[in-house]
Every structure is written in C-alpha cells, then in structure tokens.
Symmetry: C2
Subunit: 421 residues, 2 copies
C-alpha cells in the first residue's frame, strides 16, 4: 500500500472508532485502561523481546548511548507505564461535564458540554513509554489515538500498541481506538498531517526540527512548543540564598528538558554580591557561564555571551547571564528573547512580583519557585500529553481536559427566531 | 511602502499596544468604549460623507444592490453600532478571572488566570459595522485589533476606525490598539497572515472562498467556519405543527446566513403525513424543494436532489429534503454531509433526543428549536466576534471569553524540584 492509502485507511478507521468511543461511559474506559496495565505486566517477555530487537538494530545503526538508553524498556520503566495507566483510570473523566448552562428568556435551555476532540495524532521520538502514556490519556478522554513514534522504536511500540489493542478488544471497545503507524516511511507523516477531515489535532513531542517540519506541512491544527528558553530573574530584593537554590535547580536538576533555565537575569543592585556566589555554585556543578559585559566586569574570566546566546536553548550545562536594571528591563529581555514557556522571578517585593506575573507573556510565570515545575503531574493535572506554548486552546501542560472540546446543546419546546438579525 | 513593510509595521505597533492594553483595568476600557460611542454619534456627518464616497464608487463599479445595501451606514445602523459598544461596556471583563486554583502538597499556589490573546486580526467583507463591533470586543477583552475589511468599504471603515482611535487617545489608551489596513492591496493580507511573531490569531468573517484563501496561506492560527450546512431532522414522534414551524423558520427567516437550514431530514414513518404539509408551506414561502427518490414518491413533481445537493450551502430559498429510517440514519447523513455547524432534531422522544445530541458532532445541537439561534447574542454571550466550526479553542459563537487565553501563575516560597523526572 502506498503512503497516501495507508495514512487514509488508518485515519478513517480511527475516525470511525472515535465516534463509538465518544459515547462510552467512564467505567468501561477505566476497565480498558486497567486491562492494558494487566496485559502489559503479563506481556513483559514479549515486550522485552521486541525492545531487544530495536536496541540491537539501534546499536548497529550507531545510535548514541543516550538514545539507546531512552529506547530501553527496563522492568521499572514498564512498571511506570502500568502505574501511569492506573493513575489515569483514577482521574475524573472530563467528557460529559456541563461547563455552563443558562435558560434564556425565550425558555431555551443552553448548555456547553465537554466532548472529546475526536481523533488525536501524536507524533513523537524515541521513548516508547510515550506510546502507552498518550494512548491512555486519549482513551480516557474519549479520543481515538494515532501514534507515530520514532523509527528506531518501531518494534517496541508495535508490541506495546498490540497489547493495548488486545485490552480494548477484551473489554469490548473498538481496537481501532489506538492506531500505530507501523511503517517507518516518512511520507506517511506527510499524508497524516493533511487529513483534516479525519484527524482533529496533532500533538508533537520532540525536538524543534521535528515540530517545525510537522507544523509547516500540516493542515490539521498542531499543538506544540518549539523550545523552552526559560528565564530566572533575580530581583534586587531577592533572598540570595533562595535565588541560588532556585537557579541551581532550574539549571542543573535536569538540564536537557524544556522547562530548565537557559538565561539568568540579575538586577544590577544585587549583582555584585550575588554573581560571585553564583559562579562558585555553578563551578561546583560544572556549569559553563556566558555573560554580558556587566556580568564579566563582576566575574572576570567568564566567557562573553553573544546575541545568539540570549536565544539559545542549550539543554546542557551552560548558562547565559545578564545584568539588568530592574524588573521592567527583565520583562523586556524576556519579551525579546523568550519562548513563552516558563519564566520566574525571585523577589521579596510583592508588587514587583505581581507586575512580573502580569507582564511576562508565558505559559507559566513563577514567583519564588523553580521553572522546573512546569509539568502536568506537578501542576496537579494527574498526567500530561504535552506542553503548549501556543495561545489557542491550551497553554502550558496539557492534561485530560485539554484533550476535549465542547459542544452547545440546546433544549427547546418549539422556539423559533423572531427578530430579523 | 511595500506590502511586507506595511504589514510588519502595523503588526509591530499593534503588538506593542497589546502589551500595554493587557494590564489596563476594566473601568478604563469601558470608558474608551463609551467615548467611542459618543464620538460616533457626534461624527455622524463625517461618517455619512465617507460612506457616500464608498457607495458612489461601488455604484460605478457595478456592485449589486444587495452589496450596496450591506455597505450603507444608515442612522439606525450607526445607532446599533453605538448600542453594541454600550452593551459590550456593560459585559463582565474576562481578563484577570481566576479559572481555577490549587495549592500543591509542596506549598506551591497554582492559578490559571485569563489573559488576552494579544493581537487579533479580523478579516471580513463588506459590512462596515464589523469594524466597530470587532474593535469593541477586542478592546474589552484586552486585545489589540488589526482590521481588514472589504476594499469597497475602505472610506467608511477609515472614518469609523479614526473615530475609535480618537476615543482611545482621549481616554489615555494607546491608539495603536486599533489598526485598520487602509490600503486595498491584497498582498498586505498575504503578509499579515504569516506574521505569527506579532499576531496571535486571525478571525475570518465572510464567504467560504475568502476563508479558504486565508487559511491556506496563514501560519498564524485561524478561527473560522467555512460554511453552514445545517439540518433539521423530523423524527417519527415529532409534533408535526412544531416541526413545520421550526423548518419554516430555519429555512426562511433569513436564508442567507450560516445558521439557516439547508437540508431537511424526515423519518419515513412521518413522511407521508408530513411532507405534503411541508410542500404547501414551502410553496407559500416560495422555497424550491429538491428531494430524494422517496421524497419524490410522496411529492410527485419535486425536483430531484443530486449528491451535490446534500453538500450544498444554498444561502437561498432552496431546500434539500431526504427521507431516512430513524435517528441513526439521520445522524449518519449529518456526519457524511454536514459542516459541524448547527443541527436540530424535532421529537417527542427524550431518549432519541439525547442520542441525537450525543452523536451529532456539531458546534450546536438543538432539540425542538430552530437552528437560527446559533448566535452570541441569542446564546447570552452579549455579543459575538464570529462563529467557529473548528474544535480547538472555541466552538460555535465566540464572545469575549473566546478572545482570551490563560496563563499559569505560580506563587512559591523557594520551592525547587526534587525528583528526577
């Protein structure tokens, strides 16, 4: 089958399944989620075998040790997938929730009711757990899922998706509710992203180049974030000890993720006292600093930051540092160079904090906390299918509710429109 | 100035204004809205003069009488614009509203807060009142507006926008909060729709070809509806008198609008009794019927409906009629041919009504009421900037709330992330 027919078949089957899924009661969706967890535990050997084939092929193909590690399904990682499904089963079902309701003077009862989006296509890279995590969230929110993982994980994803489809079948739900793109052909993605008749949204998880490629071709709406150039601004009134802990955590706790800090902004009033302590801490953590001229006056020997550094998402133990005059200047810097992801202020001045939260136009704005908390679990959503730096539909971590839309349901008793508008 | 520079300047200025506007308190936005209404009343002559120039040019260019009528700003129409502004001033301000808040076990206070989208670009056709209506809604919701109306209304729109900018200036708000594209060059639109760095959303109001052209070129997200192929399904248990009134209203009260009915589905059990009464009523209203074979058996002489008729948005006194067997078949027809806009069932059977509301995947689903009610005012939103048949962000009539997004604002006292995820 060619890429076009393959993609269209997949999408049509998913659309059909989504129409059944939309009306399935919560209890039955939960049963399918728990059955998947059970079958995953029982299928540990079959999964390990499929994963071994991917790891072997990846080793031969010269994948880096880091990539091979991401690809590996260890027993604890399989356990996490199962726990994730059990957690999602325990979360409230957004579908059917009445968002608001009103009775109009003419007697019409007008309700907005949450409904699934329909078909959600998730495009991601190497980690196979995304297959189960995404499929679980889509199922719970009543959506059919089309999953397209990295080609290096094809066997692993195939084993995981097959088990979930078995669980759907065994619990009486349509197995087409979870469709895996099981061929590596990149052309299939190109076809999928234009099937707006069947697919309601694309969620991308992965590097910026993957996401830009998808967004450029897609006619289906894409929810995405390109990158996370996150800032911490240390205000004049900051508790320096707290600022140091937050900067350290935001930079070093897990530098390769999108909510890690890339640029530290320091108020000029506190910089002479603060920056030397920062340097000491960062040296200990093996973080390379790149500073603006004023930073380098205080910290001689620090490498010079170029214009490119302010835009950079290092995802590594590198930190750009800039001295600014006041919150307004920090806000300007973030508006000019930021990625609207996560930005923090450290301050003891509440009105300055409020100004910062109002003026910084990012998905998440923090006062006296690390940017690393931008995450569905940490925000109390229970789970997340991705993070959006878009402004429409969903912003920041996306959980079950963000996988739904609403419809207007209007009950009348014969009302007709009288005026001429 | 070439189209690219013109569009970019406009968008940059609007973006700057939007950052100021986002923090303006409700009271000051209301004052500017009311000042605009006052100045519009005072400027009646200047507006009439500009409108006269458009009407003259339009007459010479051979615009149809219907188009010229749409273009005309009569004193009552100007009065309606002013009343619209006053109404919008009276509506609650969505900006700053806390959507939800929670305190996490680690003490983080996590809030979702409504904020403006930023810069909203509205692309529309001939009616100049859209200029004031859209600018008013954008202002109240804290957004800067870029307005691009039809070229035949350039003078009228210019006079209206100039008055609103004067009101902004007089009340101390940035006049760049309302920018009008004051040149007819189509290339400017082509540039605007790709300025995703400055423009946050495009809202299109107009015919399908305009909207498709914008959506095809845009990298800025577009909220839209292409067309309204709305259905009324008359179930076996329908009150025939009510069905007749609803069908008449949905088809004839204002046939040229998107929420008018285009196809009537009639259950086979009621068709022999209902269709002859329908024909009589529709003949009186000068509506041409086009029927499926079963319709034509009951109503000999009715023109045959082709496959194209089921997809057609007539926007005229034409009605496609199909006999179907039960609600499931009606739902299938709507899924196959509908436009996800507004669809109604007429029935006395509550469980059938519930099935219909659950299974029909449209922005608005009606029980025993006319599809003509899909409208922000009729739904109690106070006003509307457009109707969306998309699923992301907003569905159905869009009011002030749909012109906002949210941000996550997190207050801590030094929290850092401990686990390794």
């Amino acid at each position: 089958m060619n890429a076009r027919d393959y993609a269209r078949n997949l999408a049509e089957e998913a659309k059909k399944a989504s129409r059944i899924l939309a009306a399935i009661p919560t209890e039955r969706k939960n049963r399918a989620l728990l059955a998947t967890a059970e079958l995953l535990k029982a299928g540990e050997k079959e999964i390990a075998e499929a994963n071994r084939r991917d790891l072997e092929a990846g080793g031969k193909a010269g994948l880096s040790a880091a990539l091979l590690d991401r690809l590996r399904i260890t027993p604890p990682r399989l356990g996490e997938m199962c726990r994730g499904l059990e957690q999602v089963a325990g979360l409230p079902d957004p579908v059917g929730k009445i968002i608001d309701e009103r009775t109009r003077p003419n007697g019409l009862l007008i309700r907005r009711v949450r409904v699934p989006l329909g078909v959600v296509c998730v495009i991601y890279e190497s980690r196979p757990n995304v297959t189960i995590d995404s499929a679980g969230l889509c199922l719970k929110s009543g959506n059919a899922a089309i999953l397209r993982g990295g080609k290096e994980a094809l066997n692993s994803n195939g084993a995981l998706a097959a088990i979930m489809q078995r669980a759907l079948r065994e619990t009486g739900l349509p197995p087409d509710a979870v469709k895996l793109v099981s061929v590596a052909d990149r052309a299939v993605v190109g076809e999928l992203v234009t099937l707006d008749r069947f697919i309601d949204v694309i969620i991308t998880r992965g590097g910026e180049s993957l996401i830009r490629a998808v967004a450029a071709e897609a006619t289906v709406p894409v929810i995405k974030h390109y990158k996370g150039v996150c800032h911490v601004y240390v205000a004049a009134s900051a508790d320096p000890e707290m600022a140091l802990e937050i900067a350290d955590n935001a930079k070093t706790q897990r530098p390769a993720v999108c909510n890690a800090m890339e640029t530290l902004l320091v108020d000029s009033a506190i910089a002479p006292m603060f920056l030397p302590r920062l340097r000491k801490r960062m040296e200990r953590k093996k973080v390379e600093l790149r500073g603006c001229p004023r930073t380098r006056e205080i910290l001689p020997g620090v490498k010079e930051a170029t214009e490119d550094d302010w835009y950079a998402e290092y995802l590594d133990l590198i930190l750009a540092v800039r001295v600014v005059d006041g919150a307004a200047a920090a806000i300007e810097h973030i508006a000019a160079y930021g990625s609207n992801h996560s930005d923090a202020i450290v301050t003891r001045d509440d009105s300055e904090a409020r100004l910062f939260t109002e003026r910084v136009d990012s998905a998440a704005v923090y006062v006296n906390a690390s940017t690393r908390f931008t995450d569905g679990g940490e925000f109390g959503l229970g789970a997340e299918i991705g993070i959006s730096t878009d402004k429409l539909h969903a912003r920041g971590p996306m959980g079950l509710e963000e996988l739904t839309t609403y419809k207007w349901v209007i009950w009348g008793n014969g009302q007709i429109r009288e005026n001429s508008q």
